[in-house]
């Protein structure tokens, strides 16, 4: 069946070409691919890296970027104890129930609260950021071509613009950002945060850690998915082999006649 082979090849080629060309059109730059622990069929998140990444988010990114789909209770999923998550939550204030006179109140955040966003609304965000709105980071690792590799490459992609490059007012040169002009100034510098116990807080290390953390924020069920995937694939493989054998047996008397 030559024809089937031809169709299969064409199909595979189109998928490759299709995705490849979209990538090329949007990126035009080589991303720095990292060997993430969550890659591959058995990939899992690195709890220590995520906790460091959360620290980077909290001390650097959170000044401008929200993380609104993450609740403080979710922090227990990256290895914080309940007490630690509660303590982190208590550092934030959120709107409380109206008091007895109907006036608004504030209270310390608890485990069931979601991460407060840094700006009250888009106008406030724009006013503080030269007209640009810093995007919420909850899903950013899935909302950009290249995912965590893109985030890492972007965070480590700040460099001096080429001599003939005209940089817009208030914009910064980034090798990875589409168009190379990004409103966000370089966010990370060596030793910007102090890791309690762990590697040195180099730009490279912090970029890796926060990208790791943001991948978890975007895809918190990845580990459950990989685990179930293995069970499903293993089960279906055995079942399919059995179904193949049954099919062969059922057809044996028909095929013999030929």
């Amino acid at each position: 069946m030559k024809i089937i082979k031809a169709i299969k090849t064409a199909f595979a080629a189109t998928i490759l070409l299709g995705t490849g060309s979209v990538l090329a059109a949007e990126g035009e730059v080589e991303l720095k691919h990292q060997d993430w622990s969550f890659n591959g069929a058995f990939g899992t998140y690195d709890r220590a890296a995520m906790q460091r990444g959360f620290q980077v988010y909290k001390e650097v990114c959170a000044a401008c970027h929200g993380l609104k789909y993450i609740a403080f209770r979710n922090l227990m999923e990256i290895g914080f104890s309940e007490a630690e998550a509660k303590a982190i939550a208590a550092e934030y204030t959120v709107p409380g129930a109206p008091d007895e006179f109907g006036d608004p109140t504030e209270r310390a955040a608890g485990l069931s609260d979601y991460m407060p966003s840094p700006f009250a609304n888009e106008q406030a965000a724009k006013a503080s950021n030269n007209g640009a709105i810093p995007p919420d980071l909850s899903l950013v690792a899935k909302a950009r071509e290249g995912g965590p590799d893109y985030l890492y490459s972007l965070l480590t992609g700040y460099e001096d613009p080429p001599e003939d490059f005209e940089l817009g007012d208030g914009l910064n040169y980034n090798a990875v950002f589409p168009g190379h002009q990004i409103a966000m100034p370089q966010p990370l510098f060596d030793d910007f945060v102090t890791y309690a116990n762990g590697p040195e807080a180099s730009v490279d290390q912090m970029a890796k850690d926060v990208s790791h953390f943001l991948m978890w924020a975007a895809e918190p069920k990845l580990e459950a998915r990989h685990q179930m995937g293995f069970k499903v694939m293993a089960f279906m493989l055995v079942l399919t082999i059995l179904l193949y054998l049954i099919n062969r047996k059922v057809w044996a008397n028909v095929k013999k006649k030929h």
Binding site: I3, Y69, M233, T240, I246
Partner: protein, 431 residues
């Protein structure tokens, strides 16, 4: 045509069957009572696979609808709620999202199987046309389903596609307003799309029942494309094709599961993880992969011809690319069904498959992407798309009608049970 009559041993089954012959129906349609050609190859598995896909989409879709909020303020957030907080919500959503892609892969292969083996020809024209109706319903359902998560591609895809209807003269603008439920893609649009996205799958179920009914009148076509002549040519559907279909389902689920568990977002677009924003247009608005060839046809028309705008031409061509399938049984005049015995048609078939892939590739790219730089002019994606579109219609409207009536076909085998070509057999001349 039944090879065996249904005589239940169980008294309860017999009692039910006397008053409502549902067991007889199953016996005669999927059981030992349905004789199927014994030479069906694995391309005949895709009908049952399509049925499986439909059931998977219905089951996961109904569960998702229990947690989803069809309002512009909450749609995106409720989708994330499903992904993060609902028990196995991520599984339901990834199965449903990838299930749509799997459904289209299966149905496209099913359609091209029909094109190759001449399954659309007499006496199966009605069966084929019902299939085209299912394809149209699937496309409408998939399009509206993609809008529901209310991401950037949802919103802008909906805007682009609904705007197409404005190209229709006189009533176009009114139709668009009706589709939107207002003057822009907004909450009423999302609400009606959700309502219709829930309704249409059940309409599909109805047409599938008609499709299967129409199948059982002449019975399945087969890889030789010749009629069943004697009981020696057939085997009972059960156990032979139930066993074969189950094996096919096993292989299919393995592929499906690979996407769901290891590449759940590969067939989607990253921009749909950005909440819909009417003020920010994504750099490239692209539909889901299964619409890309049609998108390329839509964009292949760039010159207004008098009152017929380029946009209207594109819209007509896009719909015509599917509607042409309705009349294919009459465009193709060959008495021989299977392409195996039609060398020229077989060649054209291969080109058509390549053409559809080329159109898909063009649809994924911006029209102004340069493919060949000729110095003073360039050969762009647009031009490739125009060639691909021209070839698509040339194939169905000119080449197939002409060649099918002139082509010298190869001699057909004697029967399915005895697939030899008699030495004195003559090639069948076209009529």
């Amino acid at each position: 045509m039944a090879t065996s009559t249904f005589e239940p041993k169980n008294r309860l089954v017999r009692w039910v069957d006397q008053q409502l012959p549902i067991f007889s129906l199953l016996h005669g349609s999927l059981g030992p009572g349905y004789p199927a050609p014994k030479n069906l190859n694995y391309f005949w598995n895709f009908g049952s696979l399509a049925g499986l896909c439909l059931v998977v989409q219905l089951v996961t879709g109904i569960v998702l609808a229990m947690h989803y909020q069809p309002s512009t303020a909450e749609a995106f957030g409720s989708t994330e709620h499903i992904m993060r907080d609902v028990n196995y919500g991520w599984l339901m959503r990834y199965v449903h999202a990838n299930g749509g892609s799997m459904f289209f892969i299966v149905v496209f292969i099913h359609i091209f199987r029909g094109l190759y083996y001449g399954s659309y020809k007499a006496p199966r024209e009605m069966l084929w046309m019902l299939g085209v109706v299912i394809l149209l319903l699937m496309m409408a359902t998939a399009f509206m389903g993609y809008v529901l998560p209310w991401g950037q591609m949802s919103f802008w895809g909906a805007t682009v596609i609904t705007n197409l209807f404005s190209a229709i003269p006189l009533v176009g603008e009114d139709i668009v307003t009706l589709l939107w439920g207002g003057f822009a893609v907004d909450n009423p649009t999302l609400n009606r799309f959700f309502s219709l996205h829930y309704l249409l799958p059940f309409v599909i179920v109805g047409v599938v029942i008609l499709h299967v009914w129409a199948l059982h009148i002449p019975g399945s076509n087969n890889p030789l494309g010749i009629d069943v002549k004697s009981p020696q040519d057939t085997v009972p559907f059960h156990p032979y094709y139930t066993a074969k279909d189950l094996f096919g389902i096993g292989v299919f689920i393995l592929i499906f599961a690979f996407f769901v568990f290891y590449a759940p977002n590969m067939l989607g677009h990253p921009d749909n993880y950005i909440p819909a924003n009417p003020l920010v247009t994504p750099p490239h608005i692209v539909p889901e992969w299964y619409f890309l060839p049609f998108y390329a046809i839509l964009r292949a028309f760039v010159t207004d011809i008098g009152p017929i705008t380029a946009k209207l031409q594109g819209v007509i061509a896009m719909f015509a690319s599917i509607l042409v399938l309705f009349i294919l049984p009459w465009l193709d005049g060959s008495k021989v069904r299977a392409a195996t015995f039609r060398p020229v048609y077989r060649f054209l078939f291969v080109i058509l498959v390549v053409d559809c892939f080329v159109l898909g590739w063009v649809g994924a790219n911006t029209p102004d992407r340069v493919l060949i730089d000729l110095g003073d002019s360039t050969f762009d994606m647009l031009h490739l798309g125009q060639i691909g579109t021209a070839w698509y219609f040339l194939h169905f409207l000119v080449l197939v009608p002409v060649i099918s009536r002139r082509e010298k076909t190869k001699p057909l085998p004697e029967s399915i049970a005895n697939p030899v070509i008699r030495p004195d057999a003559h090639a069948v001349p076209a009529e």
